[in-house]
Every structure is written in structure tokens, then in C-alpha cells.
């Protein structure tokens, strides 16, 4: 059953990676606004300017 140690190492390192991502998400304010992100995806970003200026 020693293989479970490998599975544990793998699973926990993935979990650690996710935890890191989660902490990063929280710290950088990814989860602070839960109103505008779901609404924003509904808008298309079709060009509004007809002129070819960049």
C-alpha cells in the first residue's frame, strides 16, 4: 500500500497549488466583487468606433 504515499504527495501538492491560487485570488481581490463579473460577460466587446484608429 506504499503507493498511497505517492498518491498523497501528488494529491496534496495539487491541493497546495490550489491553495496558493486561492490565497492569491483572495489577496488580489479576485473575489471581492461578485456583482459586476457575472454581468460583464453578457456584454460583447464589438468595436464601437467605426474609424480605423487605434
Amino acid at each position: 500500500m506504499s503507493v498511497i504515499i505517492i498518491l498523497l504527495i501528488t494529491s496534496i501538492s495539487i491541493a497546495g497549488l490550489f491553495l496558493f491560487a486561492f490565497l492569491w485570488g483572495v489577496k488580489s481581490g479576485q473575489f471581492e466583487d461578485d456583482y459586476s463579473p457575472p454581468a460583464r460577460i453578457l456584454f460583447d466587446d464589438k468595436p464601437t468606433t467605426k474609424t480605423k484608429t487605434i
Binding site: Q30, P37, K46
Partner: protein, 709 residues
Amino acid sequence: MQVEKFYYDNKIVKAFGFATVIFGIVGMLAGLWVAIQFYAPQSSLNFAPTTFGRLRPLHTNAIIFAFVGNASFAGIYYSLQRLCKARLFSDKLSWIHFWGWQAIIAAAAVTLLLGFTTGKEYAELEWPIDIAITLVWVVFGINMLGTILKRREKHLYVAIWFYIATWITVAMLHIVNSIEIPVSFMKSYSWYAGVQDALVQWWYGHNAVAFFLTTPVLGLMYYFLPKAANRPVYSYRLSIIHFWSLIFIYIWAGPHHLLYTSLPDWAQSLGVVFSIMLIAPSWGGMLNGLFTLRGAWDKVREDPILKFMVVAITCYGMATFEGPLMSLKSVNAISHFSDWTIGHVHIGGLGWNGFMAFAILYYMVPKMWGTDIYSKKLATNHFWLGTIGIILYAVPLYWAGFTQSLMWKSFTEEGQLKFQFLETVTNIIPMYITRSVGGALYLAGALVMVYNLVKTMAKGKFVANEAAEAQPLVREVAHKKEYWHRVVERKPLTLLVLSLVVVAIGGLLEIIPTFLVKENIPTIASVKPYTPLELQGRDLYIKEGCYTCHSQMIRPFRDEVARYGEYSKAGEFVYDHPFQWGSKRTGPDLARIGGKYPDSWHYNHMYEPSSMSPGSIMPRYAWMLDNLIDTSSTAAKIRAMQKMGVPYPEGYDKIANRDLMKQADAIAANLKKEKIETLSNTEIVAVIAYLQRVGTDIKAEPKPVAENK
């Protein structure tokens, strides 16, 4: 600030979409074919590549990796660009990803039909293809993470989190489960043996469902459902909680595939606990999806896309409720090895994955061709064909599973088993027929979709590069003292992840061999390695996919012990690279087949199964009587086994073929006594040698443990 103008790459989405449709149809056809073989075994055509054991892996691989895989890639590439407000990181990488993945699928189709298989479910592909998968997966990862890094939208929408988790976890799962030792160009042995192999395999198998069939599709749901309904997701907060809880819990549930087996009990219980916990996040996701349509149900009446999504999400909810239920040991005692499991996975496959794939195709094609769907009515007809197909598929199999499992467990008043195994199979044939009708309806619906999509494309004009504009992302300047993670963040994320993968692979390759070889010390003294002939026979057993119908795991139940013999012990499998416990009993368990029938019975049975058991639905394996054993591979196989700690004597590889021929001659002579003339180096002889060996080792000595009670 100046607005930047850029273009979304629709061409790559189109390519993946085409691949989805083509391989979806192929995979469903293969599924229908194997479904028909249950009641018309002659439809295997007596041709090795089209027997159930080879077609079934083709069906599962085609549906999972080709149909759902391509659909996910199409949906991810479509939504990721729009969510990040950026074109994909690199067009070149996109196309390497596309053609690489299709080449893998083509290679898989050919090799599986030719019988090249590792014998591990949903990971059947041989080692060169495994390496190719890893490389293409890395390309996909760089392309995705690169796009995320160059995004013009600071916030990562929840769908993107699901995509990232998919990529990381699938990479890990694939690498860990695919550690195998190559014997030749298209043959390898799993590095793990027996119980260990089973644990790794189902850790992988369950998480393949979780991270290949669930998380990417959930991400797609969070993008395409709000877009199709034109309203924001019900609760964004719930979606965040849903995501994080799901990915943290999912990875521990694998052992629920091994309840009542020789896996240690504590590991089984661990799997059960986490499986039950999974109900919460899964249902959080389902409810979030369905509640998004709150107040918009009138749209569902009109819009076929939403119809597909509603049924898909409902099926997701049903499957994720049923799954934990089946993980309870008392329920599992009935459901495992029966058709119930097949019904369960098809609620997920046909309902959740299939319907989501159809929905996003119906959504994306009109958008990218700048037109409306050709016929809403046809799409609605497709929806009904599919839905009725799912019901006709799943309900009969639930019925069949219950019926068969209860028949297995029935005893007469005298304490004898009430039914022969074959009776329990012939009894449910009507259910198998109904199931294939359901599958055919589902396939018919998919063909209606193809017509509808082709007509839609003809109606519109494809926009290869869709113009868009957005403000560039302002990099924030840190004012205070920098935190350490700020520094890490500024490094290219890709590099970080890549180095992690490299380190993980290196580390694992380093640890595993030494680690596991020590562990392979036999725990039952009478269990010995396979003889060279048996080893060759075992490889043929794997090659023909016998494990797709026969288990090799007797659970400690009264009926199984009465029917098959002494229940299986962990120590019996220490030389099994890979394990062959199986997951479904269409035929009887073979864990104690050794010595049960004479050699001649096996010979006749493989030639024509119904001659020995009238009414049998097993395909014929007539070619085994003519094909010769490839003895040139014996030495390499023995050496590979030695490397993994199987105790063959030093230098045995050089004399292995001598022993092989000696044993083969003995079997041929034995057959001759029964008036069967055969060459001693035919495949059938090797298979007989293996079958006569399975499960006999512990009988060799008086049992060391006292009988129970």
C-alpha cells in the same frame, strides 16, 4: 486611455468544433455497435478488431478524449478569448494543439483496434501515445496560461478557474497513472502491481471523470448558460464556493470504485466519506445553473439551446447524487459489477457531457457564422430524440442491473445458488435490446444536428477573425513593501508551472521504482510469479480486452464465495502488472478459474463459446487457434518484470523460452488425449496456461489462516 483593437481567433474554435462532431458520431457508432453485440454476438464478425474487448475501449476513448475533449477545447478557446478580452496566446500553439490532439486520436483508434493496450480502463493507450498526450497537454497549458497572462480584464471569471484546475490536475493524473516500463515499441507493463495498481488506476479513473468530464464542462456551463439565457449567473459567490470546494474534495473519492475488494478497508472508507461530501459542491453547481434561469423559464420553452442545458444540468445533478449513493457500501454491494454502473455513467455521458456539447455547438456556430440557427424546430427535435434516447438507455440498464445483481445473490431454500451465471445474463437481454434502441435514437438526434449545423453554416458567412476592442489592463504598481508572493507573481506563471511539472515527473520517477519494488515482497508464500507461457497468455488476455467483461475479484459475499470460490486476497496480486480486477461482469468472475475446467473445455469454449455454454453471448476467438505466440518477446518481458522486482532467477530471460515450450508441449499433449490436435505454440495454448493458473496459487499449501467462524 486608448482603446485597443484586436481579433478573436474563430478558426481554431471551428476546427475543434468539426472534430467534436466527427469523433462524436464515430464514438457513438462504436457505442451502438458494442451495445448490439450484447444480444447479437455474431456482430463481432469473428474478426479480432471488432470484438467487444477491443471496440469497447475504442468507444470509451473516442467519447471521452475525442468527443468531450474536442468539445471542451472548442468551448474553452471560444470563451477564454472573450473572457480575457484577448486573442489566444499563440496561433502556432493553437494549431499544434489541434493537430497533435487529432493525431493522438487517430493513433488511439488504430492501436486499440489492433490490440495494443495497457489493460487499464480509460488509460488503455500505450506508452508512445501517453508521451504524446503529455506533450500536447503542455502545449495546451502554455497556450491557455499565456492567454490568461495577456488578458485585458483583471478579473478571472469563474469559468477560467475551472479551466486552470482541469489542466493542472489532468496533467498530474495522467503522468502518475501512466508510469509504465516499456517492453517494446507498443507494449509496456504498468509499474504498479495488484492492489497498488488498482488504487492508482481508480484514483486516476475517478478523477478523469472529475477533471476531464466535469470541471471543464462546468466552466463551459458558467460561460455559455448565462450567455444563452442572457442573464448573469444566479449567484457568483456560490460559483466561487462551488469551484473551490469541488476541486479540494474530488481528488480523494477514487477508492469508492474498489469497495469490498482486496484494497485495505480504511482506504475504502476514506473514499466513501469524500464521495458523500461531494454531493454538496456538485449540487451547489447544479442549483446555481438551474437558478440562473429563474424568471426566464419562458425562454426555455422557445430556445432549444436552453432546453439542452437544462437537461444537461439536471443529469449532472442526478449523476452526482447517484454517485455518492452508489459509494455507500450497502448499495455498492448490489450495484458494483452490474449494468447499473453503465446506466449511471451514461446519465453523465449522454446527458451532461453530450447535451452540453450539443448546446455549445448550437450556440457557437450561428455566432461565428454571423447568422441564426437554420432550424429551431430541427434542434428541438434533436433535443427530444436525445432526451427519449437517454431515458430508453438508462432506465432499462437500472432495471437490468438490479435484476441481475439480485439473481446473483439468490439462494434456494436448500442453500444452493438459485441461478447459473448464464441465466442471469439471458434474463436481461430484452433490457440490452431496449438500451441499444435508446442509443440509436440519441445517435439519430446527433445526425439531425449535423444536418442543421451544416445548413446553418451554408446560410451564414464564417468570420475567421472577429474584431473586438477593449482597454488594456493597467499594471498596478506596488506602493508598500513587496510581499514575497508579489515577486513570484511577476515571474512568468508558465515557467513556474512548467518547472513544477518537470520536478514532479523527475521526483516521481526517482521515488517510485525503489519504493515500490521493496513493497512487492510476497505476502503469501505460495504465490509465485507467472511462468513465461502464462505471462504470454496473460498479455493475450489483456490484448483481447477480456477485462471489459470479466472481473478477477471475488468479494467476500456468501453468493460470490459459493459461485466462484475463496474470496480474493491482496497478496495474490503482487505479480499482476497491470491488475485485471475489471469493473463489470458481463461474464462470470475469473479469479478462481484455474483448474475449474479441463484444457479441452477452454479450447472448445474459445473456439465457439456457445458449444460449451449454450446461449452464451461471448464472442468467438477462433483466430487464437491459428495465431502463433511471439516467443521473441519473452526475454524482454521477463527482464521488464525483473526490473519491477518480480523474483525470476538471474539470467532467466535467456532460458525462459525453453520453459515456455516445455509447458506448451505438455498442454498440447494434454489436449491430444482429448482428441484435439494443435500446435503447441499457438495463442490458445498460452491463454489456456494462463487461465488454468489464475487463482490457484493459494490452494497450493494448506491455508495458514483459520476459516471464518
